[in-house]
């Protein structure tokens, strides 16, 4: 029987010859990602951890990124509990504050590889489809159970085939592509499904793929996937991982898809997701001139070097509008260093940007860059839910780094093509 990517990898990880959508299988993931929530996770299972210990030292990946540096005694104590847990259990993959956002680190450190299966107690765990891995989000309780047993159940999902054709026009980016798709199929359009990207994706770098895969959850997907190709292999070689250390999984030729969508990239224009749902997507012309008070460039969706470079190219030698605060949030220390050494940080800071430490920062409203009532933020993050940035009377708009940079110059939502072509 021909199978989709999700069917093939779940068959492999459950030692079955074949599986079908709806079937429940037991899997042992290669890694389990947890972050600041590790403190709450281990509290749940203290007696069991003492009695049985953790399943393996190499299973967990723990990253402190959500509220860093600690914002209060409570969050500082959470970090302390996690550091002690890491030390006592000799956990191999631990990244303390300042290393970066968990999803960026999992890819950057080569912990997600083509054909691997990862679960994480964070909804954007679906990001690793950018590199050809199966990855999906779970809650804290399930992470606790996995820490002890190393196994869990997964339902084999239906698969959706997204076929992308053509080439993006200047001023249009992968962020516009994924927002366009979510606007089209809705925030629940891929619920419970595995979403595979096919077609002309060779022009998409790993950074571009990361942005798209990251937002799979915003259309309800269980996982999102770009198949391993030369772009993937070149990226992995660059970070020191030879082809021989992983086994990519492709979908079979006659695999059955639950739904198929086709998008012509040439026809996609810059778009903005308007409050308060990610699928409230509008062409930029419809929202131009909306005044904004805060801009955010960064996060796990768009905090990579190429994103910061796009922004720097727009802001070079210019100053942002005096009515706007521009926050810059590199996705990792490595990206931060590269942006520093290549002069990108200098350009962004000179233009008026405020640099934040690599982490989740303002995206989730837990600290840093919170909004006040009636304020509007234009952000490169992945969510614009009501109250997401700390205030239910504020509004969040989502767009590409180019759109956010161009808008910071004018203090209102601005089509980046108008600035790039100048």
């Amino acid at each position: 029987m021909d199978m989709t990517f999700a069917e093939k990898i779940l068959a492999k990880y459950s030692d079955l010859k074949e599986v079908a959508p709806g079937q429940i299988v037991t899997v042992h993931p290669d890694h389990l990602l947890t972050h600041d929530n590790t403190a709450a996770i281990i509290q749940k299972i203290k007696p069991e951890l003492n009695k049985y210990g953790i399943y393996s030292k190499t299973l967990p990946i723990i990253v402190l990124d959500h509220v860093i540096p600690a914002s209060s005694e409570k969050t500082a104590n959470n970090h302390k509990i996690i550091r002690e847990f890491v030390k006592n259990n000799e956990i191999k993959n631990f990244f303390d504050i300042g290393f970066g956002i968990c999803h960026q680190l999992v890819i950057e450190k080569g912990l997600a590889l083509p054909g691997k299966l990862l679960l994480g107690s964070d909804s954007h765990t679906c990001s690793y489809g950018a590199i050809g891995a199966f990855s999906s989000g779970i809650d804290r309780t399930e992470a606790a159970s996995l820490l002890l047993t190393g196994e869990t159940w997964l339902k084999v999902p239906n698969s959706i085939k997204m076929v992308l054709t053509g080439k993006l026009n200047p001023g249009v980016y992968s962020k516009d592509v994924i927002l366009h798709i979510i606007g089209d199929i809705s925030a629940s359009g891929a619920n419970y499904c595995s979403v595979e990207f096919h077609g002309d994706v060779r022009n998409f770098s790993i950074d571009d793929r990361f942005t798209i895969a990251n937002m799979g959850i915003e259309m309800g997907a269980k996982n999102t996937l770009f198949f391993c190709d030369n772009v993937t292999k070149e990226y992995l070689n660059l970070i020191g991982i030879p082809d021989s250390s992983y086994s990519p999984i492709d979908a079979d030729k006659d695999a059955k898809y639950y739904k198929e969508f086709k998008y012509n990239l040439t026809e996609i224009s810059p778009v903005v997701a308007c409050p308060h749902t990610v699928d409230n997507v509008k062409p930029i012309a419809e929202v131009s001139d909306i005044e904004i008070q805060q801009c955010l460039i960064g996060t796990c969706t768009n905090g990579r070097l190429s994103d910061l470079k796009v922004a720097a190219d727009i802001l070079k030698g210019k100053t942002i509008n005096s009515g706007v605060r521009l926050l810059i949030l590199p996705a990792s220390k490595d990206i931060f260093e590269k942006a520093l050494n290549s002069g990108i940080i200098e350009i962004l800071v000179k233009a008026g940007g405020v640099l934040l430490p690599p982490g989740c920062g303002p995206c989730l409203g837990a600290h840093q860059g919170a909004l006040a009532p009636a304020e509007r933020c234009l952000s490169t993050a992945n969510r614009n839910f009501k109250g997401r940035m700390g205030c239910k009377e504020a509004e969040i708009y989502l767009a590409s780094p180019a759109t956010v940079a161009a808008s910071a110059l004018y203090g209102k939502i601005t089509d980046p093509r108008a600035v790039i072509n100048k």
């Binding site: 509220v67 629940s188 419970y192 989730l364 837990a366 839910f385 009501k386």
Partner: protein, 160 residues
């Protein structure tokens, strides 16, 4: 018993704001903020045995489990919706919170209707009409019957 009626795409920030996620983990800490940005009257007036009826994609967004823990601990008997987001769906199973995906019942419901749920037979009675919903797979029922995933895991570890 109260019926709480909400619309489509009720996200995790509405169910439990992100600003509390890293400072509130246990039921007593969660309850005051439950549905805070959606319906401030909820946490004050919710009673054991209440039912939530909602639209599509209930629980979309974050993997935070406070919504599931909170709704279970205040005694919500079931959330009946047109559809659920998947991480929330798993979180509910893990906490033993009952979710029922039954679009027909949700569409039929109008304010003031009495709602009864018969889990054993997979029936939901709205006003004078009875609707069926599919049974969960056995593996999932086993987790729920154990009292949630952690109890299930504890039993499994003891057997080993």
């Amino acid at each position: 018993m109260n019926i709480w009626r909400y619309g489509d795409n009720i996200d995790t920030d509405m169910l439990f704001p992100g600003k509390y996620v890293y400072i509130c983990s246990i039921p007593e800490e969660i309850k005051p903020h439950l549905l805070e940005d959606l319906d401030p009257s909820f946490s004050k007036n919710v009673k054991k045995g209440d039912i939530i009826i909602a639209g599509i994609n209930f629980g979309c967004g974050s993997s935070r489990e406070q919504p599931a823990i909170g709704l279970k601990s205040v005694g919500i008997k079931a959330v009946v919706a047109l559809s659920f987001a998947r991480i929330f769906y798993r979180a509910a199973i893990n906490q033993g919170l009952v979710l029922i995906e039954c679009p027909e019942a949700v569409k039929f419901y109008s304010d003031g209707d009495n709602v009864e749920i018969d889990m054993d037979n997979g029936k939901i009675i709205v006003g004078a009409k009875t609707f069926s919903f599919p049974k969960l797979p056995e593996q999932i029922i086993a987790i729920r019957d154990a009292g949630g995933l952690l109890e299930y895991t504890r039993k499994k570890l003891k057997k080993k």
